[in-house]
Amino acid sequence: MTAADAPPDPPPDPRAALGLPPAPVRGLPPAPARGFRAGLVLRMELLGWSLVLLLASAAAFALLMLWGMAAGLVLMGAGLPVTLLATALVRRFADRHRGWAGRWGGEPVARPYLPIPAGNWLTRLRAILSDPATWRDCAWLAVDSVAGWFTAGGPFLVFAAGLFSLSYPLVLALTPPQVLRTPLGPQWPLHTTAASLVMVPLGLVCLALWYVSAIPLARLNAWVIRSLLAPTEQARLRARVAHLATSRAETVDTQAGELRRIERDLHDGAQARLASLGMSLGLAEQLLAQNPQAAARLLSEARESTSTALAELRDLVRGIHPPVLADRGLDGAIQALALAGPVPTTVTVRIPGRLPAAVESAAYFAVAEALANALKHADAHHITISVEHTPDSGGLLRIAVSDDGRGGASFGGGTGLRGIERRLGAFDGTVSVDSPVGGPTDVRMSLPCVWS
């Protein structure tokens, strides 16, 4: 990590970059009543976390000090790189907590930071210092370095006390008579095994207290994190406006480009052919009387010309809006795509009837592009396409195109993934790629079916 604009790893939620409220997480928050055993496992996991978070609370204090000191140095005209580094550390640290709160609090916590402009260190620092999220981070560090001791340290302490009390008779038997004889305070020394049994019910009470309080305390902690580290409504709206402006500009550009392409194709293709067709026919008309053979030759040329013109128009129409998509909707159109490709392709489509036309079209072209990628670059033996829009997918159309090819696909590789991103971006859709070198490749796309 070298500077404050080091890429976050991993971004808590791609939707946050679009200024969208995060998508609900499935299967969480932990259901409290799913049997004692599951509950116990859950609480033990939380116990482990509370140890981590406890250490993190101490780290939060240290980070706050570091950041404060670095920022103070800047005021005195030095320490610029240290501040940037400290900010990067703070943000990464906060991201970890956002991830944790997202996992245990039920829904993901988005990243609130404004993009850091390219430029010299001073401009970056200015951007960082004027970002309210920076100051909210600091506030959270301060709060966490205190509150963490209760929300994370509390359960740990109670649990440890419970275990200790429960095993106290054993401790008494195993330790020399001078140590650990006054667990209830110096007024009540315990010397006999019988007396030590008093501790057992106390241990049970502690463990019960831990069992009952573990989840509410974790939720409390998640709530603290969310309320200080999630973007404020204002920040969210600002991100949203920024995203809408970019995606609108991209959409307008893309559409203008498409129109230019269509115009050119029509002009050089069908239009030109029809013009020459008219000439051939006119000439044939003239020749019909004097030279029927030449006329017949011209007529057959004219027929060839119509075939070519039709073939060109067919290709053009496919590129604008594939007829099979109009006929059969997304389901049929994707089946048709799969049938046309040279690699065996399994298609699963689960959507309730027809989707809005614009969504269908965007989804179709995104799948077509991803499939074309797989066919062109992956050298795959099998491709799977799944499209799903169900009530529990949160109003999102989820699409996955996976292949068992050689992998290594990336946004930078000129593989059309950028195009998919642009196409889906206009609808607040997202695309992510998992493609290690050596394969397999998994392209996941999501697209809201109702958008703002």
Partner: protein, 214 residues
């Protein structure tokens, strides 16, 4: 021969009727939308129907659906589908009842009037006729498959012509060879693909198409 025609564009409909008339077909009804087509197919039970895939009122695959429905009520009702574009998916659906008497051609092919009329007659007689574009894309799909790679270029050509639904005689004429040579090629193809050779043309076409669509 009694024909039902369905085509929503008046110019094309008139053109089709004129061509069919000129070759001695009896166009008993020409319709321009899906519901009338379903009715016409049921009342006339024509010897062959020449239908556009896309028809009103939905302007989707109304014509195709009407044809498939009519064939479930009247199995083997000969239909020749015409379309501005061909789609594997639709070819598969048309062939799925394996009853033959099905054609699926691009509208452009009508401009080769003699070949178009030949296709109408063959479908009426129970044959299967597929557009070369459908077959080309089917073959492209199997480009790297083991048994197909073992075919010689000549056999490959025979295979695609067979899949389009041409008889041995037609293939022979097209390739400037004797019918005997064609039947030798076809035996070899069936051997290599592990298919049951059949004397009957239509059965043979269906076997080849089923193989390619698998």
């Amino acid at each position: 021969m009694r024909v039902v025609v369905a085509e929503d564009l008046a110019l094309l409909r008139e053109g089709l009727i004129r061509i069919l008339d000129a070759y001695g077909f009896d166009v008993v009804e020409a319709v321009d939308n899906g519901p009338s087509l379903a009715r016409a197919l049921d009342t006339h039970r024509p010897d062959v129907a020449v239908l556009d895939v896309r028809l009103p009122p939905t302007f989707t695959d109304e014509g195709l659906r009407a044809a498939i429905d009519a064939r479930t009520r009247t199995p083997g009702l000969p239909v020749l589908m015409l379309s501005q574009y061909v789609e594997q998916l639709y070819a598969r659906e048309l062939l799925s009842d394996r009853a033959g008497a099905v054609g699926y051609l691009l509208k452009d092919r009508v401009s080769r009037v003699d070949q178009f009329i030949d296709a109408v007659r063959r479908v009426a007689a129970g044959a299967t006729v597929m557009d070369p574009e459908v077959i080309a894309s089917l073959l492209a799909r199997h480009e790297n498959d083991e048994p197909l790679k073992t075919l010689t270029p000549r056999e490959h050509e025979v295979l695609s012509l067979m899949a389009e639904g041409r008889s041995n005689a037609a293939i022979a004429a097209r390739m400037f060879v004797t019918e005997k040579a064609v039947s030798k090629h076809s035996n070899s193809i069936f051997g290599k693909l592990g298919l049951q050779q059949s004397e009957e043309d239509n059965r043979r076409v269906l076997a080849v198409l089923a193989y390619l669509q698998a």
